[in-house]
């Protein structure tokens, strides 16, 4: 069923009785052309673009729980393309362009809201770094605008401009950035992929791989073996665990990142603001809660919950940025498992095992990448060549030295 104004009207007059489930809860078939492991945003987007752009319809997405129950349902929903390095920026700008047409492509309201993102700077050196970043963004076709102090004040007069330690000097704005509704992105991709014949198989955990010699020819699952021409992994924080079943050691550590939502408020923050003197970012959901987060906890973890020192750090950064949130109560906090790669950038590549493909290493920036990640991974799976915007995301770049290290901190995942 196509969603439209007419379908809403019609169901309004018929007691909302005409709605059907948005996708089938499929049972696994014995074999597929392509199996995507991981029913999060990236996996479902990959399946959708494989079907819609490359005409491959015999696809299964295998998810160990229910779709969108991992990081796709745990992030802070920010979309942006404000990267510096040539390996990254064209990819994220392509993702931004896909976000801009996503709802039309999926016929689903993903609540993409280009409310703008503003990165604050607090020193001359940081201003120069942001000017450089803004220029790099423009070279890749993205928009950027360097604001001075008064420009920021016109947008957000309530920020602590005269903070004794971190006075706000200005900011780098990307007005096309913003937020999207994370769950709706998952549901929209699932529904659109399902309509093209993709089987979405839930409660189906991959427990091993079927092999012929060196090649991967399928997966062992909790619902039986399934053969496949190609297997793509899009399992984020579980990448090392799943890849280990294929005998691969990845350049990756899994870390926990926490996020927070306050009680609901009247409209206060109409865009996304990031603090430049610490790690803190904040936006307001359409339900009114302030959504914010900061650094990863900094130690290996699969626990999906974090510890208090980072909570304190996030609260301190928030207070330094906008003291008026000091009396707000926290409604919820949670943790997700980040696939922290060794240079802070993702991997979309073939693996040493023929038939096995890897999409991983998103660190804590995977949500904004969802459309382009799916697009590039689908391109790789269909053609065996990387998409033009994802050529740098090679698995062997750590061996060859072609790292994409935005922060320049080296092979220490908890610093990215």
């Amino acid at each position: 069923m196509r969603y439209s104004f007419l379908s809403v009207l019609k169901n309004g007059f018929t007691g909302q009785s005409g709605w059907k489930p948005a996708w089938r809860d499929a049972a696994p078939k014995p074999a597929y052309d392509v199996i995507i492991v991981g029913g999060g945003g990236h996996g479902l987007a990959t399946a959708f673009y494989l079907a819609s752009e490359h005409g491959i319809r015999n696809i299964a997405v295998l998810e160990k729980g229910h779709i969108g129950s991992g990081n796709a349902g745990r992030n802070t929903t920010i979309i942006r393309s404000n990267y510096l390095l040539p390996g990254n920026e064209p990819f994220y700008e392509w993702s931004m362009k896909l976000w801009e047409g996503l709802e039309q492509a999926l016929n689903y309201n993903a609540m993409v809201s280009q409310r703008g993102i503003l990165n604050l700077y607090h020193s001359d050196a940081q201003r120069d770094a942001y000017a450089r970043r803004g220029n790099a963004m423009r070279l890749a076709g993205a928009d950027s605008e360097l604001l001075d102090r008064e420009g920021v004040r016109a947008m957000y007069p309530f920020l602590d401009f005269d903070n004794a330690r971190f006075p706000i000097q200005g900011g780098l704005a990307q007005r096309r950035g913003g937020t999207a509704r994370h769950d709706a992105v998952v549901w929209g991709y699932a529904r659109a992929a399902d309509q093209l014949g993709v089987d979405i198989v839930q409660n189906c955990e991959v427990t091993g791989f079927l092999t012929e010699g060196d090649a991967i020819v399928g997966v062992e699952t909790s619902r039986g073996p399934i053969r496949a021409g190609k297997v793509g992994l899009a399992v984020a924080g579980s990448s090392s665990r799943v890849a280990q079943q294929a005998g691969l050691r990845l350049p990756m550590e899994s870390h926990v990142l926490q996020a927070f939502v306050s009680e609901g408020l009247k409209p206060l923050v109409d865009g996304v603001i990031t603090f430049g003197a610490g790690h803190f970012y904040i936006s307001q959901s359409d339900k009114g809660g302030l959504v914010f987060g900061g650094d990863i906890d900094g130690y290996n973890s699969y626990a999906q919950r974090g510890n208090l020192p980072v909570v304190e750090d996030v609260a301190e950064s928030g207070m330094a940025l906008m003291p008026r949130i000091g009396r707000l109560r926290l409604l919820r906090m949670w943790g997700g498992i980040m696939d922290m790669s060794m240079d802070g950038s993702p991997i979309i590549d073939r693996t040493p095992r023929p038939g096995l493909y890897l999409n991983s290493g998103w660190c804590y920036g995977g949500f904004k990448a969802t459309p382009a990640s799916g697009w590039c991974f689908a391109h790789l799976l269909a053609t065996d060549t990387p998409h033009a915007t994802g050529t740098a995301f090679k698995l062997d770049r750590f061996r060859t030295g072609h790292l994409i290290d935005e922060k320049g901190v080296g092979a220490q995942p908890n610093l990215h």
Partner: protein, 87 residues
């Protein structure tokens, strides 16, 4: 999370800096397969879900390196010892 520093006793994790996997050993740079060995040493990790041996540096305490046995699925700490043994 509190880390049982063998020298200082149980201290808050915020007193420590984290390095990571303590099972890695620096390869011999003169070995014929040094390229491969260093690639694995610097970049590749087992990244286990479960028991993990890891280095923490007690930067706001005794400034000793501590090898901690911790479960990455529960954060439960099974034990800790000083690098190079007790002095």
């Amino acid at each position: 999370m509190r880390i049982p520093c063998p020298y200082c006793g149980a201290r808050d994790a915020s007193e420590f800096a984290y390095l990571g996997d303590a099972t890695l050993t620096r390869p011999d740079p003169a070995a014929p397969d040094a390229d491969e060995a260093f690639h694995a040493y610097v970049y590749l990790r087992d990244n286990p879900a479960g028991a993990h041996s890891e280095w923490w540096y007690h930067s706001a305490g005794c400034r000793r390196w501590v090898k901690v046995a911790r479960d990455t699925t529960s954060h439960a700490i099974a034990g800790a010892e000083l690098a190079g043994g007790a002095r």
